[in-house]
Amino acid sequence: MPAAGVVMIIAVVLIVATIVVYLLATIVALRKITAGLDDAIGAVGEIIAKSEPVAPVVADINANLDAGVDLLEGLLVKKAGLIEAVGLIDGLYPSAAAAGLRNFPESKTVKAPRIAEVYTRGTLTLARLGREAPIAAASPNGPALRNAAYGSSAARTLYPDGRELHAAALPRSPVIGTDSPVQYDPSEEVGGPRRQMPATSSPERS
């Protein structure tokens, strides 16, 4: 066999061997990829199965929350009026009035009364819930007002016969000291029944 033929055979064998080595390495890498993708697909299947009931549950939660928003917005506007409702919201949550009420689109154009500049949040809440202190109702541009006559008349209606401020006779505070009418002798009274009970009312002292 001529030398050129031998060299050609060696070259071909070398090429084939190179192809085999690289292809084997590629096959190993592809097998790793396949195993990894199988693992990932299994986890993705779990994600799909676990997230399947999320949509209807979240939709139900949103529906209930929407109903709550509708209820509270409607009640607030019904009881406080649109302008004061916007002022109250802006007082509790500054700049929230700009977003307006969802079911009252006209609330976005309402200029919120400056309720929160004078009164605290708790006062605002009580004032809006109770209507005995219609603060900042008269003029949002001026100082906060309180209609004393209106505020007290509402409470007065609860006591048509006049509100009892206190009992007719209240027990007085005991008189203490060396010249007090009732003397306490620890040497005689400690551990035993009291000889003289304290006064329960004050008519004899008054």
Partner: protein, 88 residues
């Protein structure tokens, strides 16, 4: 004879390097995919683990219903107790 030597040279100098170059490219691409696939699998497992808390949504759903019912009851009482605003 000369042509055979020329063929040998072409095989060794041209064909073999081209084959090696192409196969190394394929192997490099396949090898580079392996860690990416591993990260994808790890992320999928982490995402699946995060969704273990999904059943708690049912508790949230129940609590929301109860809260809205309480607010509705409270609002109904307030609606009876308080006067409506003027013009409302």
């Amino acid at each position: 004879m000369t042509l055979e030597w020329i063929g040998d040279v072409i095989l060794l100098v041209v064909l073999l390097p081209v084959v090696v170059y192409l196969l190394r490219g394929v192997l490099g691409a396949a090898t580079s995919i392996v860690p990416s696939v591993g990260r994808i699998a790890a992320a999928a497992h982490a995402g699946s683990a995060d969704l273990d808390a999904v059943p708690l949504l049912l508790t949230t759903q129940d609590e929301v219903v109860k809260t809205i019912q309480s607010a509705a009851n409270y609002g109904g009482s307030l609606d009876v107790i308080l006067d409506d605003a003027e013009g409302a």
